[in-house]
Subunit: 333 residues, 2 copies
């Protein structure tokens, strides 16, 4: 079965589509009321975010656009120091979209939401004329999280001697999408994952996280440059400590890509006080998706510091990691 | 200037686009922080909604897709009895989109948000390959509102003898879009509007609104059928009291359309206790966009009632208004 324009009519076909796919997988007490707005318990301070996902292919090693659409929004909420709670799901379907594919993608969204402990409480579906001739899908997820009292994570908080912790190996998601599009067969799988357990772990243990960011489009190099300029710090990284899998390293080597600029969808960088670095790494390593976490460098900030990201290479050299040059193709989310 | 794939790269072109168009128009303290999540004051109970807008043409008499994208989400929040507060803006641009058109549309979103008293606090922009060859735009807005204590608006609350109040004339938005697409020149303009003032008026005056719904896709006929089946009531409407402008009546007559199923984007129907109907109509008539409000019928509910919507015609006949037949083309939002 294919999606037709009638599925976007607002009439019986739309109701059927919603019942048979969206309501079936997302099923929860709030969504089931099928009102135009969902009313849920709130909080004194809330975090809001939105992200649209237009990546192709929809299915790739290690994930799909549905999993990605939940992880991206959940992780954005987490990085602000909030507890992700509710998601909305706005789907724009292209005429010709395969219904079984849609079913798998929505099932994947639902499963990822359960894993992340968030509820998808309201949604909307539109159908547009086919762009590609073979049907397609764009997903917007907006999210609300509850801000934690006391948590103050902002790039400007990075301070002298803070540890730079990376939660795992670089580049998997980017390499998986690129490999899929190029028809390359290898064992690299996307790392798309909700980082709820590791962030909650850090917060609940009272680690004073100064800044946190998920490593997505633009890669680690981009995130750390933003931190460096927001806090007027120098980020000194040790090349030997950077976690990169052999497979991704080889893949990058062949294609001339730099893991420092490759996008992930299930990794984060956290800046924590030096005296808490061991405890923080231990918590992340003990959490789901954090087994390869490592301290990859330290922050330097004094009167003479020029904001920069500097990689200290294994042979004793210094390489300045600038802003990403070019576009980081293909689109990864 | 046209949108190119580079505007979706996440690099310098994306930043420039965001600065020159989105940040310029949406400018507010929260958005200006440009974080992935926006943190704002919350509330004990919140309402959430999402809607995607894919209508063409982007500009039509009386409005544009930007104004529509704010009104639709604001009105959905209002209809749940909540006070709309925050909006997210997720734009998917097609390669080739005209930058001046985008600028006008985003300016219109900003202006409508100001009128509605909501803040657009976070956003996301993606660029996809052109679908139509001439560039295009899809907008998702998700919204958060603060639920009012005590307000309990639900279709199931409709009770015997309640008044059915319509806030104005039927069909303008639908006729304006249809006329635009058909190249028909007349004076019909879309009624797209945020209904904040009239809903706040009713709530603040303590009117016991049993159910409220904006009259959008599917029209008044569809809304009242949903109310009738949710509350097992019969909605008796008086044809002579239905507000329809002469222009829309003529337009519908020529094309064989029924105003009962035409979509609006700035009208609502409210079900209120009979003893409060005069006060409610007065409040709505005194509010912006409510000058043509009228009691159009009453609810009947007793042991023998069959849920239905019945139009009592001017010549003394009875016409059952069923669920919408067909699709209500063209897409109006």
């Amino acid at each position: 079965m294919k999606i037709t324009m009638a599925h976007g009519s607002g009439g019986e076909s739309t109701s059927e589509l919603i019942r048979q796919i969206f309501a079936k997988h997302f099923h929860n007490e709030v969504l089931d009321r099928m009102e135009d707005s969902a009313i849920v318990p709130g909080n004194g301070r809330i975090a809001m975010t939105t992200d649209s996902f237009v990546v192709t292919p929809y299915f790739f090693p290690g994930g799909d656009i549905g999993r990605l659409s939940v992880c991206g929004t959940v992780n954005d909420l987490l990085m602000s120091g909030s507890v992700p709670k509710y998601l909305t799901c706005g789907c724009i379907l292209e005429e010709g979209m395969d219904m079984d594919d849609l079913d798998r993608i929505i099932a994947s969204m639902a499963e990822t939401a359960r894993e992340a402990g968030v509820e998808i409480i309201t949604g909307d579906t539109k159908v547009v004329e086919a762009r590609t001739g073979k049907g397609g899908l764009m997903i917007n997820t907006a999210g609300v999280g509850f801000a934690r009292d006391g948590a103050q994570c902002e790039p400007s908080q990075c301070a002298d001697s803070d540890a730079v912790i990376l939660s795992g190996t670089l580049g998997e998601h980017h390499a998986a999408i690129l490999g899929s599009r190029m028809g390359i067969h290898n064992n690299i799988v996307s790392d798309a994952a909700p980082l709820v357990e590791m962030v909650n772990g850090l917060m609940n243990a009272g680690i004073h996280v100064h800044a946190m960011r998920d490593v997505t489009r633009g890669g680690l190099g981009t995130v750390l440059n933003e931190f460096a300029s927001a806090s007027a710090c120098c980020m000194n990284l040790q090349e030997k400590d950077l976690p990169v899998s052999d497979q991704v390293r080889d893949f990058c080597g062949i294609l001339g890509l730099d893991p420092m600029y490759m996008g992930n969808e299930g990794k984060m960088v956290a800046i924590v006080p030096k005296e808490e670095e061991e405890a923080a790494v231990k918590i992340i390593r003990g959490s789901r998706y954090g087994e390869n976490a490592a301290v990859i460098g330290h922050v330097e900030k004094n009167a003479d510091t020029t904001p920069a990201v500097v990689l200290h290479t294994q042979i004793g050299g210094r390489r300045v990691i600038g802003l990403m040059y070019g576009e980081g193709l293909p689109r990864i989310c």
